[in-house]
Symmetry: C2
Subunit: 311 residues, 2 copies
């Protein structure tokens, strides 16, 4: 039997060294997922910082150089930049190489990237469901993907061996791998991620604009619920702009449902329907329990923030 | 000078021993805020459990007994129960005693409680802005109020000495005390607490009802944003039903603003206005920074849930 910890790839090229790219680099090293790491970023500052952090074997602003000879290339740039980056590095991809990404939308990425993929290169889009509200190469860490899900959205007829290797790579980094179509992915993420972010951005904006309640009061008394939304609404603006522009239909569809439900909830309040409110508020508790049982969140009160201190 | 750690009250009666009541009991003991604690709860199970936990000196189902001889009585029951409880214990309040509460709405509590308050008793409503998503006497802890705000909404002409003592009490439990009118409190909390909870309950309900995305998928991939909302939507249903029924006007007003902003945000997405989205998403980041700077939330990524583990 092969050594379970043998490297899965010879050379992985990471294009974009933000939170996700730099976490993948650290994960590859920590879990021995590849022999070598090439890192490329369009920002000279990021390139310099990645060199200082020493989390890759080669660091360059030149995507072609990074991609050369790589058997896995992962685009870790905002969704809106994927097409352009793919175009630039396509001629330098080795035959048999796997091209993947980490974007939060998939159908739009397929539309933008697939036309550039040379014959003999396996394009398998991926989305690791992991992150924090911080950005940049310093924000990454090797365990980011532990016990998180990574969704692969292979095109029809994707090569089995390429799928196997990419799955093994993400499993090595600690993720559980799931496969689905790009369009289903976009619908699932619209409700589990894009709509929550949209709502969070919106409510933080609403609170900032009130005349009757000052911004200083909103900040002071934020521990009563509001502060949770501000964490999500502190996520990277470029990344999220691109997500909403590139998953417009699914997001607007989910927003329509949310709005319909909100109208019904508003009516319960206006008419003073206590039983209706109680029923909804009880039902939502059960979902929280399932999320904790399945290891997707901590059971600690207040996410552990309010843990009783030593007395 | 008086000993800074001298008890502030002789006997504090806590009516309702859920998360907040039981945290106050523990806080009184830990920080020596009163000589004796009487605890009363309408539930025989809670009374038995509080006896086992030994967090009060007297434990009874009888509010009159608990209130007798107390120089501070705090109602820690859901907002909708405050009027009834006040009516029951009013005849047993000692002249000069302070009657307070911890409710998340204030104008409705004043309307329900004030008519029952006997002459010579100082009624000073209060709201400690603290809590977790857990309920019941086991969920409480002594440090819950540390570095949180407690808002007092004294009626016109409240006695200065009563205000001083109640402020000192909350300060002893670790809170910062602020004073404002009941109606302003209800507006501030509508935006910092009630609207966020409403939105969270709503989105969790929306996600549970989809046909195209299964509940199992929603749970599995919840780490992408959704899970944060489920924590808030796991809060006590009775408490929250009462809040929405008793702060209807302010909640509907804030919901109207939220809805207006959401319509504008939806238009940005529909028209593909990337600059508009980027501007909003950048602005909301600044508010998060202020909340962290003012000690109202942790700066740890993902509230500390995703802290890098030992490798």
């Amino acid at each position: 039997m092969a050594d379970a910890r043998a490297p899965i790839f010879d050379k992985v090229a990471l294009i974009g060294l933000g939170l996700i790219g730099s976490s993948i680099a650290r994960g590859i090293r920590t879990y021995g997922a590849a022999k070598r790491i090439a890192a490329s970023d369009s920002s000279a500052d990021v390139v310099a910082r990645v060199r200082e952090l020493a989390i890759a074997d080669e660091v360059t602003q030149n995507v072609a150089e990074a991609a050369k000879g790589a058997d896995l290339v992962i685009l870790c740039v905002p969704v809106g930049a994927c097409g352009e980056v793919a175009r630039a590095l396509a001629p330098h991809l080795a035959p048999g190489a796997i091209l993947s990404d980490v974007g939060s939308v998939k159908a739009a990425i397929v539309a933008q990237v697939a036309p550039h993929v040379p014959a003999g290169v396996h394009f398998i889009p991926a989305h690791p469901i992991a992150g924090t509200e911080y950005s940049g190469p310093d924000a990454g860490f090797a365990t980011l993907f532990q016990n998180r899900w990574c969704i692969l959205t292979p095109p029809d007829g994707a090569e089995a061996e390429a799928m196997r290797k990419l799955s093994a790579f993400w499993t090595r980094l600690g993720a559980n791998v799931e496969t689905m179509s790009a369009s289903h992915h976009d619908l699932v993420l619209a409700v589990t991620s894009h709509l929550p972010h949209l709502i969070a951005y919106n409510i933080v904006g609403t609170a900032a604009d009130l005349e009757e309640v000052t911004q200083s009061e909103v900040i002071k008394f934020s521990a009563s619920g509001f502060r949770d939304f501000t964490r999500i609404a502190a996520s990277d603006p470029t990344m999220w702009r691109d997500i909403f522009l590139n998953n417009k239909d699914a997001v607007l569809e989910m927003l329509g449902r949310f709005d319909e439900d909100l109208t019904a909830l508003r009516r319960l309040i206006r008419t003073g329907d206590g039983d209706g409110l109680f029923t909804l508020f009880t039902r939502t508790r059960a979902i929280r329990r399932s999320i904790i049982e399945q290891g997707q969140d901590t059971a600690a009160p207040d996410f552990g923030r309010a843990a009783p201190r030593e007395e």
